[in-house]
Symmetry: C2
Subunit: 336 residues, 2 copies
């Protein structure tokens, strides 16, 4: 059986040239990566660090049917999505991995998916840990923002517009909130593909669930423009609730942007979870700047509501009438 | 059942006054702790960050018999020990936690043990994640060293002395490498306490295993003095091997400092693992400085050998003859 040290060296220690993609200085002179007690890393002067940890557990955050490559992608993507919500530029990450056994095919696929996304964002693996145990993936990611430029949940103000991201895919299919939940319900057997009266394509939706796209470029482009942001992991309304609570404001949300081809379409869009789109607020006088940021980052963005001084969250149906339906946000300690 | 957000707030979100112990500015102006997508944190100018992640799994890193308070201590201690080995000053950490269920008594004890050690080192919990799953604790710790001052594994040079730490305990009992392994073997039923012909006290040894002391003050005091360092998690000789390999040198290690009251005493001291003492090298002209650093940090330190230009590791018995016994280092993917 391959030991811990061999495993680290073989799958996660990369030659120096690969650790330092052209044009970036993720690991600087005198810095140390994998192989010492700590990674030693030099932050860029006059920046603040943005730090996020996410732990992924089978059955909670991914299904046993997911490919190791997609899992490697998703484990990093959900962390990069947190950086995106703060407007931070990804710099480095650590990986801690508990594995039931050393499965080389699994490790090869996992590390391939992980590094493909890491390289796309010039985000360097600088350290971590491996151990034997029930499958568990914990990534801590480090990003940077200029001093004071982080986009927080607490900055929404009455009168601000509320936006959600989602981009046209290369194939012409449209990325929208709710698709990940749709794919999950197909896997759970609650929705039959053959009787699919959603307008979602299953293969496309499954890819959205298994390989979410962190909106890093959009987040960076929104620095100085967005007043607050969060990434949608628990469901649009639940995550909006975090912004409203920390900003001490309320909101009105329209739903006329949701394609109503199925009774659950509104529920999946507003409370589906696992979308990893950005939900953000911005002052009305920043409307042109928001659209320019979306265009510059090649990301679709839709205005879905307004922030109100009055506390509480009002959801309007397609005709503009208050919606009576209630939505539960995703909670990893409640069965869903 | 208590939900994820309640759980975070109740056990891990502390009032601002507790997050900022008197005399420290761990979270600076404009910085953000728990409750946003990322923690936002300002590094000290002209420092480098030292970063380490450790993942703890039941049966591998702790026994089911351990108290939640001791586990909270140990989960952070093993990470602080990595900082100590680099000579870094602890600053902040993230905690990701998978729990089979929300057990409030467990959480109360775990968070108490965790924060007691964190406060001792002015190390602030700035973020993390909680989820349901098989018990798994993943901590990522951030420390700081002045630019270029990190003690690395690669700095040992031929002629350097080799030292191991260990301090007189308040009760007069002596902390030594090998005690944690002794306690583990008692728990495993391989050693009977009643027939204990080690000179270890079981309660003391058990405390060493369950509540290791990270040698943070010693590590910081050794900046500019030690040429290389590592913390002993896998066993003294195995960990020394990492220094030798990365420094491209060999070593001779004496064993006349080990109390030989039991046939396994030498094995436990040299290959026991889980000690979290510091193993370090320093030039001979730094002998006074090493002892001064030990005294300043109130830590016992023993010279146990010398670095050699010739590769390989030679272990000498009490009479100075080469020892034929071989020792396996601890590997989390091999059964031990």
């Amino acid at each position: 059986m391959m030991g811990e040290f061999d495993l680290i060296t073989r799958y996660f220690k990369r030659p120096a040239s690969q650790k330092q993609p052209e044009g970036t200085v993720t690991i600087g002179r005198g810095d140390v990566g994998i192989g010492d007690d700590c990674a030693v890393w030099t932050p860029t002067p006059n920046t603040q660090l943005c730090i996020s940890s996410d732990m992924l557990v089978e059955g909670r955050h991914f299904l046993s049917t997911v490919s190791p490559e997609a899992l490697g992608h998703k484990a990093l993507a959900v962390n990069l999505s947190d950086l995106a919500a703060c407007g931070a530029t990804p710099r480095a990450f650590t990986l801690a991995l508990a594995l039931p056994s050393v499965d080389e095919a699994w490790l090869e696929g996992f590390s391939r998916g992980l590094f493909a996304l890491a390289d796309l964002h010039n985000c360097t693996l600088i350290g971590g840990d491996t151990t034997q145990g029930p499958l568990n993936i914990c990534i801590t990611v480090l990003g940077e923002v200029p001093q004071g430029a982080a986009i927080l949940r607490s900055g929404a103000r009455a009168g601000d517009d509320i936006y959600v991201s989602g981009a046209a895919h290369a194939s012409g299919q449209i990325e929208r909130v709710g698709q990940a939940r749709f794919a999950l319900e197909v896997f759970r057997g609650n929705i039959s593909i053959s009787q699919n009266d959603f307008d979602f394509d299953f293969d496309f939706a499954r890819r959205r669930m298994e390989r979410p796209t962190p909106r890093v470029a959009l987040g960076v482009a929104l620095r100085g423009i967005a007043s607050a942001a969060i990434d949608i992991s628990d469901g649009l309304l639940g995550d909006l609730g975090h912004i409203l609570k920390l900003s001490n404001v309320g909101a009105t949300v329209q739903t006329n942007w949701i394609e109503r081809t199925h009774p659950q379409a509104v529920e999946f869009a507003l409370a589906g979870g696992d979308d990893y789109e950005l939900l953000l607020t911005a002052p009305q006088d920043q409307r042109d700047a928001v659209q320019a940021a979306a265009q510059a980052s090649n990301t679709r963005i839709t205005c879905i509501g307004q922030v109100t001084a009055e506390l509480g969250l009002q959801v309007l149906d397609a005709t503009g009438q208050p919606l009576s339906q209630t939505f539960a946000s995703f909670d990893h300690f409640k069965s869903t």
